[in-house]
Point group: C2
Chain length 399, copies 2
């Protein structure tokens, strides 16, 4: 008796796939620098942690499916502070992290067999969610040489068919770090207007940009095309709350909000405690994300400059988020990533990277690339760069 | 531009559908007795609440996708205490509540268009999950007159086609309260053995039975048919943790566990704090669930006897869980449930019930039924029964 076919084809993210190998390395006494996952070493705001100390709600009852009032009100405050005064508790649905918001947006806009445009390389979870719901991802290629910015409108339009329902992008982009210009966002707005598509913007790294121009949120255009736009958001990276599953979806399309609420009702409730923790965002000083932004920018500089000094590595300078896609002087980056965990150590230390193919639809694309998350403090990143340099030299010598 | 077709067909649970009406009634100053939802008024064990006070983990990082070691170890202890020593952290996956375990079990065993056998009336979330994944629920009817127990094997086999992949049941049953006999469970075991199907048992109300025979868990047969059996479980009702999203799935089929882990990886992580809270189950005295069992049994007696005294109501005595399906002397129970919230009050009080059709595939079945959750303390249940009696008299007089 076989399991469902879709269980077979459900991909394992290349970000997490090699975890058993890293566990084995650690058991052998090897220290592993984790650059594979977007799990920063930065502290959650203390006011959020402290909010647990006074928890006195008993029983731990179901939360309203679409989010507690406290959580939705806190989100409203957050968007108002950004200047988006039209965002309110009526056009926002609380989700179990950004992951669920992605699932919702896909489910609501696409039926099985429908096509969803993404810019490649793209966040590996998009592939998993699409597979789960039988949606076909149509990748539009972007390249290191053009800083992973969007290609021309003509190039994009070629990929659109009668089955295309929506366009999905992350901005700043995971895994490339690209921050799209106003012209690029406008290009997408015009495209979905013209061709009657939904536009889904995943902005969970909004606060982390290192360019002179401001981040251009889909929220700036939401009043212009209220029916076609969906924002995916999350507190995970903004406040280092990856383990408190807190995300949300915003849309001015009443049907989308109603559909999202139906979806939310299907799992009854999000976490009551997590939502209380997240609601403390109203007490987090603005300096918190500002300092994080500075810290990530310094790490980006360190990582980018370090990588450019390693012979044979091809990178473009990331403009935001905390990732860099690097092309390595190897034939198969996954083999190299495995080798790093199984056959290599330098002074009992090694690094863990995410193989690049996981961010492409065709796994032969991105085969020589890795995604590096610069989520560790600078001294560790320096050492990780040193290890990578030594490892590549050794690996290329063997290969 | 229309949303996906599946958004349209995704059902809203009849348990939650009328919440906006109850909110409106409350705004008018009417007190609503909530018998619509399985949200008991019983306290969560204090040791679980207290575990938040000493929380000192910062940052709130991702938990391992399949559950924290602490949580999986606590679950292992729980099953060992029940005598199922083969359950361990290797054959258990932590889930975001029972809801996600249901989704996983369906996704893993059925492809779109595949058929899943359920006993009707069944838990309304089964319909939602099946719709989400394009699975066809095939209902096997059970009736009030036979205490909602399974029909004969011949009756069940008639519904099996080449597309049937699995059989799903809840035991004790939500919404009927039926606790299946050993003979009934054996019947299912033999059926899935003979016809090569998966058997999925949802046992989230395990502790709440009011019959002289012990609860027969699928775990008792898991060693016998290791490849075909899946247990769905949850801490929500056992420890009154509905708002801490904690469930799990157990199987001895390695492929199922691997598939469940892939599914879990797709949403990265469950809640880190919630899993810590749930892990305190090892410190909860056995008397906690024993007392709850006694309390629910007393409530069951009160509710059952009260309902039998209301003219025209047809019920069977529930054997477990905390629900009763009641057939009312009305043509359309949903209309009556709405009327209770919009047009009725007795001394500024009313009751909220879940329309029965939500627990049936064909909404004309169960049209005269409601599900009543006896989750409030006895004095409130007495008053709710009184209100129901007065309301029915008034409604039948009008209608």
């Amino acid at each position: 008796m076989k399991l469902s076919k879709r269980t077979d084809i459900l991909p394992i993210s290349s970000i997490r796939k090699l975890i058993p190998l890293s566990e084995r390395a650690k058991k052998k006494g090897i220290k592993v620098f984790h650059l594979n996952m977007g799990q920063p070493d930065v502290k959650t705001p203390q006011v959020m942690i402290d909010s647990l100390k006074n928890w006195n709600i008993n029983p731990l009852s179901y939360a309203p499916s679409g989010g507690t009032n406290e959580y939705l009100n806190a989100l409203e405050t957050y968007y108002h502070d950004l200047g988006f005064l039209f965002v309110n508790t009526g056009n926002t649905i609380g989700t179990i992290a950004g992951s669920e918001a992605i699932n919702m947006a896909m489910f609501l806009t696409c039926d099985p067999g429908d096509e969803l445009l993404v810019f490649e390389p793209y966040y590996s979870s998009y592939k998993t969610s699409a597979t789960m719901f039988g949606i076909k991802l149509i990748p539009i290629k972007t390249t290191i040489s053009s800083g992973f910015h969007f290609p021309s409108i003509e190039t994009i339009e070629v990929s659109i068919t009668p089955k295309t329902k929506a366009v999905l992008y992350s901005n700043p982009c995971n895994p490339t770090g690209t921050v799209y210009t106003k012209a690029e966002i406008k290009l997408l707005i015009n495209l979905v207007k013209k061709l009657n598509l939904y536009l889904i913007s995943d902005e969970v790294y909004r606060e982390y940009t290192f360019v002179d121009r401001p981040h251009v949120s889909i929220l700036e255009y939401m009043m212009e095309i209220p029916d076609r736009t969906i924002l995916i958001d999350s507190l995970s990276k903004r406040y280092n709350l990856c383990g408190a599953r807190l995300g949300n979806l915003v849309s001015l399309n009443k049907e989308i909000i109603n559909g999202a609420l139906k979806y939310a009702m299907s799992r009854l409730s999000g976490g009551l405690i997590d939502q209380h923790v997240g609601s403390q965002l109203v007490h987090v000083p603005k300096s918190y994300t500002k300092e994080m932004q500075k810290e990530y920018e310094a790490r980006r500089d360190l990582m980018f400059e370090g990588l450019t000094k390693i012979p044979g590595i091809n990178v473009t300078k990331p403009e935001g988020a905390f990732y860099i896609m690097a092309e390595l002087p190897v034939d198969d980056a996954e083999k190299f990533c495995i080798w790093l965990l199984t056959d290599f150590q330098d002074n009992q230390e090694t690094v863990m990277l995410a193989p690049g193919y996981g961010f492409y639809s065709d796994s032969s694309d991105g085969k020589r690339q890795v995604r590096i998350a610069y989520v560790l403090e600078k001294d560790k990143l320096k050492r990780a760069l040193e290890i990578l340099k030594i490892a590549l030299k050794e690996y290329c010598h063997i290969a």
